[in-house]
Symmetry: C2
Subunit: 190 residues, 2 copies
């Protein structure tokens, strides 16, 4: 008779890690849509049927990877939300150190509903922090959405161009080009 199944079987951890690594590598090599479960399990060095013992399908594996990536992001920005300049630089540093999973995240936008949910969540958080200027031409939802999404677009540009400027420089650019104009135009001074 045995105890309740344990969560730390080496074999399980190994195959799951092999699968996530294979998914990331292959997505960057030939694109997520072009991948088959066979491609992934071959690259991971596991049997085809074994794949389905861990994930119900390809999208399920992707979700696992993306949720991990996004979770790290949220933890990262939580404590420093009050200091925008510092936060932005921190984000670029984190992206640099995790560039592969972030690239996957950005290349699978249409597949996963995670990114839109993050946009909504972040915009909401921003609207609760800043006070809208009632006389502004620009609705606060638009300003908040613009800030979030434009930062992400700049991250994408930066990754696709092999990160030609250091994170601090990108932080300054983002603040000058996006954050400061949006705050000045749509919100009241704090």
């Amino acid at each position: 008779m045995s105890a309740i199944p344990i969560l730390t079987d080496k074999r399980i951890n190994n195959t799951r890690r092999a699968l996530t690594n294979a998914l990331i590598a292959l997505t960057l090599e030939k694109g997520y849509d072009a991948l088959t479960v066979r491609d992934i399990s071959e690259r991971a060095g596991i049997g085809y049927a074994t794949f389905f013992r861990h994930f119900s399908d390809k999208d399920s594996l992707l979700t696992e990877v993306l949720e991990g990536t996004l979770g790290e992001f949220l933890e990262l920005i939580q404590p420093v939300l009050n200091d925008p300049e510092r936060t932005v630089t921190l984000v670029f540093e984190h992206v640099k150190q995790n560039s592969d999973p972030v690239r996957v995240l950005l290349r699978t936008r249409n597949v996963s509903p995670l990114l839109p949910r993050i946009f909504a969540f972040s915009s909401q958080a921003m609207l609760e922090t800043l006070k809208p200027n009632p006389k502004s031409l620009i609705p606060p939802e638009i300003a908040a959405h613009h800030m979030i999404v434009s930062i992400l677009e700049l991250i994408e540009w930066w990754l696709e161009h092999e990160m030609p400027y250091p994170p601090e420089h990108m932080g300054k650019i983002v603040n000058a080009l996006i954050m400061q104009p949006a705050r000045k135009l749509a919100f009241l001074e704090r």
Copy 2:
């Protein structure tokens, strides 16, 4: 004996139009990735095999739709490139009148390489028009990319929220929030 085959057979035009309409409608209903060729041909009211007499596959049909949509865009903005404010408003008016195909364009980003190509092309055009400020913190490629991409993100937001503000208002917002800051920060006064 007959003449050279003619390009205006009613049957051909009808099936092609039915297919493009079906693709647009179904993509908005359940997403492009979830569609099968059978779905599309059923909705279009044509036989399954007939689909392949016009398009080699699903992506090929999508490309036809997107190229038409993008072609109209390029024609639209070509004559008025010198007047940014007017151009932006014009773009929003055009989007309003063609919202379904534009929605499809935005929802199939990962599938089609057309949008990235448009980004590159537009950025290039912008860089040839404006004079970079050599003393600026912000590289001109980043400023140009930011302008193009942010406008598109705002169009996407506008469409997803059922176009709550008129095109002129959106034009003013885009100019204040995106165009003017980017020009002021990264380029020399003209």
